[in-house]
Symmetry: C2
Subunit: 216 residues, 2 copies
């Protein structure tokens, strides 16, 4: 199997930066976007439960409505594809049964054969201590998707800007999510940097390795 060389990966992670100004004229080609959607779908999650959804906004009118809910950041309008990361409101036995049905479908096994896995998940997420923090648990899974998405985009030469600077309740209302069982946690515009973005060429700021990594 062909894998990337380390230099390609690290070069691309160095090339990546939080894009402040997107070129509004440049759109991500449809076939490349399909690959990025596939990368999102392939995100790893706790137990594989995928307690998230992704809203992909390309409609200019909807982007314009979301901009004031995004601390007025221009990337929301000027990007090619705006990805909004949603987390599930709750995790019920019915949610787990939907997932088990999907496992049974994909792997050609009976749901009965998954009874032990069911008990394990229900014990942890529905009846266990994690249920008290279930929204945060789901939000964290969305952030795995955010991390995966930004790295995948960088590897493919697509610019992104992670965005926590937004009003989730306003996003939920504008996107019509009320009562959907999902809520907004963050967003990530994707597209291509404008040549006018002065941030593109600034040296990347990271703490020294000795400050961030503890070897044991």
């Amino acid at each position: 199997m062909t894998t990337s060389t380390p230099n390609t990966l690290i070069d691309q992670l160095n090339w990546r930066y939080a894009t402040k100004v997107f070129d509004p004229a440049r759109k991500i080609p449809a076939d490349l976007w399909q690959e990025l959607e596939s990368a999102l779908i392939l995100t790893p999650s706790s137990f594989g439960l995928q307690p998230y959804k992704f809203v992909v906004v390309t409609d200019p009118a909807l982007k314009a409505k979301l901009r004031p809910a995004s601390w007025n950041q221009g990337q929301v309008e000027d990007c090619s594809h705006l990805v909004v990361f949603l987390a599930q409101d709750d995790m019920s036995e019915a949610n787990i049964d939907e997932y088990l049905a999907r496992i049974a479908e994909v792997r050609g096994v009976s749901t009965e054969s998954l009874a032990g896995y069911r008990s394990f998940m229900v014990g942890d997420l529905v009846q266990g201590a994690r249920h008290a923090v279930i929204q945060e648990w789901a939000a964290r899974q969305s952030y795995i998707a955010l991390g995966n998405f930004m790295t995948s985009a960088a590897v493919l030469g697509v610019d992104t800007c992670p965005m926590e600077g937004l009003v989730p309740a306003q996003y939920d209302e504008i996107l019509g999510l009320t009562g959907s069982g999902y809520h907004t946690v963050c967003a990530c515009p994707a597209g291509y940097r404008s040549e006018s973005d002065k941030y593109a060429t600034l040296p990347k700021v990271r703490y020294a390795k000795e400050r961030l990594i503890i070897n044991r």
Copy 2:
């Protein structure tokens, strides 16, 4: 700049799975590990503040101590490198000043020139509404690192297993983190899958695109 082809990325994300059994005899070569450490350090974070640290455990005795704190999962001992993701306990003006000093050092600017950025960060994270959820905010940044790490490893042909099934307080005690200003949020063993791992060849289970992606 050389970028990966979409097929390489998607092939590798399909190749990736939550490794249940690592080959204890196979270690990640030092030069490859350095690249993965660089990828971790290059993780994007809110404002660039990097409110996390990464403990990299290779000592067999320490891994053995961590296993009972990890729901007895064998990957903790059999992996090559166990990465423990820590989040910062708090975010103070002093933390922000440390970051501003680093920006000034890397970019050759004065900290005075960053006064506006300082006010913005302090207003959001120290004095603003986000301070009430600052530990969770920091944990979410660690999860961006987790997502980036797993994708980076997959692209380089290294196996991983995201792990929330651990007792953070026991990890903190075993790793001597008490009073350090950081605490454990999750872990991720990395290394190479064992040929005996029956999970390696099971079809990957994801919901259909129509279930996960909402186009607007």
